[in-house]
Symmetry: C2
Subunit: 443 residues, 2 copies
């Protein structure tokens, strides 16, 4: 093979993938190994300029084993999920030729070549911000590019799915549906091949939506989603009904709401599904409390987190009720962070004003490190300094109710203003690579 | 009629009725006016010597209108629920003769005679301790005795049910099932006549059970059960499945667990059903948080209450897991108070030791006002002074986990140690009457 002749080359590919937030939740697997879900789910892909994973994958005859660095720290690739993704991609690898560098790799060679992987999240890992979704989507996408895998995006999503279920939804921008696939397993090979992500609409379809994420804690969550799902599937009588009766109807309603940009329906479905997901966790034996961090009760913070979940919901519900029609949709994944969605910039600035009124920064927090992401929303909200936050008026919906007008400085670590975004992209500029082009080690 | 001749007499009856705690919950009505539930429920009647309502009803030709005093304060009887109970009882009244006092009331006279009612709870009203259950059970029972209603207890339970659904279960001691009755409404008159309480086993059947109630707050709860139920029936997709599929199976399993005194099954079913009830509340739009007092967030106490719900559950689950088999069952109604059930006195003393370890009294609270009810449990737990509480060792299940070994003084207002108890009783001794025998007014 060509690689025999010349051994000092390194071939690299660098890609960026978005994270996503489910508006119809994925909760429960029918096959643990293949990560086949018990119901369809729908997500919004978040703008990668605010939340994304960047991954560089490199291959070289000089590499003696597969290695990976996550946020600069080397981690083990021995886990079944990484192994499965690597195997699936390698088995689909194509021929690669780089004439001017004299590199020629035959599809049969990939099995003998080791890879180096460097991955970086521009947001806290495992804080309930779907870092594994962006991570595995980016790993599979960049490897597919490096190894010249000629599969459509849907097929790649089925591979990313085996790394982390929700990762399959991060292979597309805009609004994405993860189809659970046939409930009955097919032959060994094709098993789960129909459990793929499909794009419902791209990021331009409903581009006036604004998404504000309230990050409450960047602590790693106590019950992993994998464990939680398994316990729910095994013990929650309500989950089976949710997955077979409630979700199929909701999926159709959500698809229609997205197609017609019907925000009130979109908001009602999003909030109801988030609450039902947490209801199923509570129906699990023993109950799972993602809206509560009981194992961290020694830090005062956990007291805040606990209340915060209920408080943010009641504030948003109060506003929606006051206006008579939903102004904002809220959704929570397996963690305390809230994702709030407004129909347009105008309402988003009213939302941000409310969020900053109720949850101002603690005295030692700078405004610029408190509201991240799209600063134009902050500008629209008329917030230029922390004094502007102090000066925010009491929202009319709580004017006559002092109890609700209370403020909770420090409850929120920071806000991220973002929007629906595009899917994975490949970087051509080598400067953006996370691995050194000559050593193949992290820069 | 005899009452014409001699008008200065007062006829009285005084009774005491227990409260009850549901182990398979009632949540949701199929008929609001008649209070017909959407599923069967099962409860344990609590020993009236610790939690009960005492009611004196009096009738006299001198009374110019129906009047009622609750805990010494006069309240209106105009409410539909009181009116319905009074009408139902009057329509079933029989002849009463008191020869030595020369009183003779024909069944036709009752419609013209007014009643005075005095009722007293020996525990906080509307603090989630089912005061309305004990109250309406006692009202109906005492009126039935006064007016010589010759109906079996089941028929009386159908009347109490129209005052407060769960009141029907307080007409029996021990373990009680409230049968929802035929789902299809029968003719106007007989509608709901089959939605009655039946005794599964008396208080002697499983008399080694010990029940400890942790009272967290005696505040009136913010969302009334009536409103909450209606919202759940209207908006929770999971409630319909719970009532039609989950509960019917649980009822059979719970009846069997009670029949065979199978505590592990009893505990698992009780905990699972309590959690599912709160899950359905969370699945309601907008969600109902009985495990959280968001509207009282201005008092620091609400922070404690919030966490407390999750904390007590995780402590109990941790203990059960550690022992490998359920030591304790927990259940929460539409309020933050926890009801904990232990299989016998030995385990109950271990339970009380744990509860006092985690939730000691605040410095200004006396032991005797902190642990109420059956003091022999306190004695078994080796607790004679507050110093004994401070000296309690860390429970073995949390020894290796400092986070869980934290203490929360003041979280619990007080504990009540009790047991399964008997149904309503009539007092013959006039001294126990709450109304003055000559004036018919509260003593």
């Amino acid at each position: 093979m060509a690689t025999e002749s010349k051994k000092d080359w390194i071939l690299m590919a660098t890609a960026r993938s978005p994270t996503n937030i489910a508006v119809v939740k994925y909760w429960g697997k029918r096959d643990e190994a293949l990560i086949l879900p018990i119901n369809d789910s729908i997500s919004v892909t978040l703008d990668p300029s605010h939340l994304c994973t960047t991954t560089t994958v490199a291959v070289s005859p000089n590499f003696d084993r597969d290695r990976m660095w996550l946020n600069g720290k080397e981690i083990s690739l021995s886990g079944g999920r990484y192994q499965r993704c690597l195997r699936e991609i390698r088995s689909r690898a194509g021929d690669v030729e780089d004439e001017k560098r004299g590199i020629c790799i035959g599809k049969e060679d990939w099995g003998k070549l080791h890879v180096h992987i460097a991955s970086y999240n521009n947001f806290p890992t495992a804080a309930g911000l779907a870092s594994s979704a962006a991570g595995f989507a980016c790993l599979v996408y960049s490897l597919a590019k490096l190894m010249n895998v000629r599969e459509e995006q849907g097929k790649l999503s089925a591979i990313a799915r085996q790394g982390s279920g929700s990762a399959c939804r991060s292979l597309f921008g805009g609004f994405v549906k993860w189809e659970m696939g046939k409930v009955l397993k097919c032959t060994k090979d094709s098993a789960g091949s129909d459990s793929i992500a499909v794009q419902l609409a791209d990021e331009q379809h409903w581009n006036d939506l604004v998404i504000i994420i309230a990050v409450v804690s960047s602590r790693q969550k106590e019950t992993s989603s994998t464990t939680g799902m398994r316990e729910s599937v095994e013990t929650s009588p309500l989950l089976h009904y949710r997955s077979t009766e409630v979700v199929p109807k909701r999926i159709l309603q959500m698809e229609e709401a997205i197609r017609t940009r019907d925000f009130p329906s979109f908001a009602r479905l999003t909030c109801a599904d988030s609450n039902q997901f947490h209801a199923v966790c509570l129906d699990t034996s023993p109950p799972i409390f993602y809206m509560n961090n009981t194992s961290h009760r020694q830090v005062p913070h956990s007291f805040i987190v606990t209340n915060w979940f209920f408080r943010i919901i009641s504030f948003m519900e109060k506003w929606n009720r006051f206006e008579g029609t939903p102004q904002v949709a809220y959704t929570f994944d397996a963690g305390p962070n809230a994702v709030l969605i407004a129909p347009n910039r105008k309402v988003a600035s009213l939302l941000l004003q409310r969020l900053l009124f109720y949850f101002p920064p603690s005295t030692d927090t700078e405004l610029k490190s408190f509201v991240l992401g799209d600063q134009s929303i902050v500008k629209d909200a008329g917030i230029a300094t922390k004094e502007d936050i102090d000066a925010l008026p009491t929202p009319p919906e709580v004017k006559d109710n002092n109890a609700s007008a209370q403020k909770f400085p420090g409850d929120v670590s920071y806000f991220i203003c973002t929007r629906p975004g595009k899917g994975p992209v490949l970087f051509t500029d080598e400067d953006q690579a996370l691995l050194h082009p000559s050593t193949g080690l992290p820069k």
